[in-house]
Amino acid sequence: MSTPPGAAAFCLRLVRRQLLLAFRRPIDIANPLVFFAMVIALFPLGLGPAPDQLAAFAPGVLWIIALLSNLLTSDTVFRGDYDDGSLEQLLLAPQPLYLSGLAYICAHWLVTGLPLVLISPLFAVMLNLPAAGILALALSLLLGTAVLSLVGAIGAALTVGLRRGGMLISLLILPLYMPVLIFGSACVQAAVTGVPTGPYLAILGAMLSLAIALAPLAVAAGLRISIDA
């Protein structure tokens, strides 16, 4: 019989598993994007379609929607595994939970954050974002959505044991999302107005490092608590 695999191999297996689960229903991957697209369509409907006004608000609006679409999916990171008992098995695995948690978060970002980054230029054009802002948008989303996934996973881990955690999670993590929103949209704004975006991206990068270091700790603690809720 086989010996328990090293932590790295195990994490790789977890990422593969989560990606396979997502690809089994491509609709799950397309969905945040479609949500993004549809909410983008809502804004002109709600705010009135004047193009110059839209352009002025595009950085903020795009970032707000990115944040909401992340919020909508973050509840699902551990939910399925809790419901069917996989989470119990994960907690009993000998590999460090810190790394397993990171693997889940990584998979979540790959299926929600990354596609958003890749398709964001298209949406930027739809909202008349000036061309100068598009690269900044993609880069800030690249760093920012990763932070959002990490922070969202904390909320997911803390609420996974509760029936109907869905809404509670937004209360827990939206306040923590706010700095990302501020620097993300400021970054795009800066690019549009011709200010260098380096400092903004640096701050987002710093947030990401901090989140990578600390969020999995909170996730691991949260999961151990939730299984006992």
């Binding site: 019989m1 086989s2 010996t3 328990p4 695999p5 191999a9 195990f10 297996r13 977890l14 593969r16 598993r17 396979l20 689960l21 089994r24 229903r25 399925g80 595994d81 419901d83 069917d84 008992g85 996989s86 119990e88 098995q89 994960l90 907690l91 009993l92 695995a93 000998p94 590999q95 397993s100 151990r224 299984i227 006992d228």
Partner: protein, 202 residues
């Protein structure tokens, strides 16, 4: 001969839930060769005890549990991913054991009667078949200690018999099994019965 070192030892466990004392000062040790059946009426605390022994419950009880070595816990929930096929469920299991070769997985699935169902999505399986996907891990896992919460749920008669002989084989090979079940075991091996009763101090 000195008795073999226990795989699991619990000392003076006390647990109250919802204002009722479930057990008090319960101690037990499980070593290689032990086949233990945990019995008792509904709601007496079997699942709670098992989760404490497995290390899943960490709050709200008193006493100490010592585990040496890996254990395999199968609970009420089957840990089978509905979207994955049985084969994928075993290959990508989150339980932390090593990755199994394809032949081993096919063998285990055949053992639990899922030959021909290896590659259908698990949610199209019947209740009993879904539990069998999970039970296939027993054929793959090398952990010496098995903690099983009602493993016979939804399993048909032939399946129950087969599982029971698997348990015997495992304990004869130096493993240990602690299971809960409301059915008596029909095996040719001494079964240690551990009976919980209202407010017991077994």
């Amino acid at each position: 001969m000195t008795p073999p070192a226990p795989l699991l030892a619990a000392r003076s466990l006390t647990l109250s839930r919802g204002g009722r004392e479930l057990f008090r000062d319960l101690s037990l040790a499980i070593g290689p060769g032990d086949l233990v059946q945990l019995e008792g009426p509904n709601g007496v605390g079997k699942t709670s005890l098992l989760r404490i022994l497995a290390g899943l419950s960490r709050y709200g009880y008193e006493g100490a549990v010592e585990r040496s070595g890996a254990l395999l816990y199968l609970g009420h929930k089957s840990a089978v991913k509905a979207q994955l096929t049985p084969r994928e469920n075993l290959a990508l299991h989150v339980g932390g054991e090593g990755s199994h070769g394809d032949a081993a997985i096919e063998g285990a699935l055949a053992e639990v009667g899922l030959y021909g169902y290896e590659d259908v999505p698990s949610h199209t399986l019947s209740a009993g078949q879904q539990r069998r996907v999970n039970l296939a891990r027993l054929y793959l896992c090398s952990s010496p200690l098995w903690l099983l919460d009602e493993p016979f749920t939804a399993i048909d008669r032939a399946g129950v018999g087969q599982l029971q002989s698997l348990f015997v084989q495992h304990v004869e090979g130096g493993g240990a099994v602690l299971l809960t079940s409301h059915q008596p075991l029909a095996v040719d091996y001494p079964v240690r019965a551990l009976t919980l009763s209202q407010g017991s101090a077994a």
